[in-house]
Symmetry: C2
């Protein structure tokens, strides 16, 4: 049993990364952070359940100015992601989505993290770190060794602080462009 596997056999709460806890089942929801938002106390929860309200996700992406994408395609992308992580808080009977990240993977060797987003009202409160730490923990728990992402310039240092390295041994991220 590997170091990481061991964590996942333990269903208890877990705080190796400070506030973060490992979600050990797909449907589990865990409390990851107490915050204040506009003077009100807010408990932030995390889930890897893929049953995501697509309209809520669209609103979250709108809040950071992303170009809108067809919901049908977003649904397909979620279905074909190895993992999704959602952060939300409860307001009355409703949930409010405030963070999201997902990763594609071949399930055994390589993974790539995409679509990392935190609502502007909740940025600079450690939620991005919670999202990424959870994605990494889940991928490591599946023994996936190559965990990659493509970072915009303004978030390179954010990811560096979370253990990501740019261009290791000169390996370059590349994008295909139509000629």
């Amino acid at each position: 049993m590997t170091f990481w596997k061991k964590f996942f056999d333990n269903t208890s709460m877990f705080d190796r990364f400070g506030n973060i806890n490992v979600v050990s089942s797909l449907k589990e929801v865990i409390l990851v952070k107490h915050l204040e938002n506009r003077g009100k106390k807010v408990d932030i929860y995390l889930t890897t359940d893929k049953n995501i309200n697509l309209y809520e996700l669209e609103q979250l992406c709108d809040s950071v100015g992303w170009v809108r994408r067809p919901l049908k395609k977003i649904k397909a992308a979620i279905d074909h992601s190895f993992i999704t992580v959602c952060l939300f808080y409860r307001t009355g009977e409703k949930k409010k989505l405030v963070g999201f990240a997902r990763a594609t993977s071949d399930t055994v060797f390589n993974a790539t993290i995409w679509d990392v987003v935190v609502h502007p009202d909740f940025q600079r409160k450690g939620l991005g770190k919670i999202l990424i730490d959870q994605v990494v923990l889940q991928l490591r728990g599946a023994d996936i060794t190559t965990i990659t992402l493509f970072a915009d310039p303004q978030v390179v240092s954010f990811y560096r602080n979370l253990g990501f390295v740019t261009d290791p041994d000169g390996v370059k991220g590349m994008f295909w462009y139509p000629r």
Copy 2:
């Protein structure tokens, strides 16, 4: 119907990229190149069929000095890849695998190309270009817009010649490393 989609509705041979032809069905095998190997004429065929002999693939990876990986995991990685492309030639009743590439994807937005390999006896003959062009064509045919890869320093210019760009708008490829 998009520009690319149109290609895939056409099952005839196709040479927009010189020697390359589009594989329009998963089981189709097409002739992509006439070569000479050690004085003998060799016809190179391409297929996107995922029914791959894992021992042959292992031998191919051995030939370029890659670290061996468990066949069971390689099988899982192939099963969970969006596309695989194989190049081979026929020798009597047998096939000899000489090239391979695969891509993971969320099936709609993003893809990442992994494990691009050409047997040393067949390098510098245009087979790498045939592999990558085919992967790109298939991904574009599925309307996937973000096609990425991570290139070792010695193959960055190879991929650049095929339309890939490093660090567009400062976007950096990053890898997670255990601390």
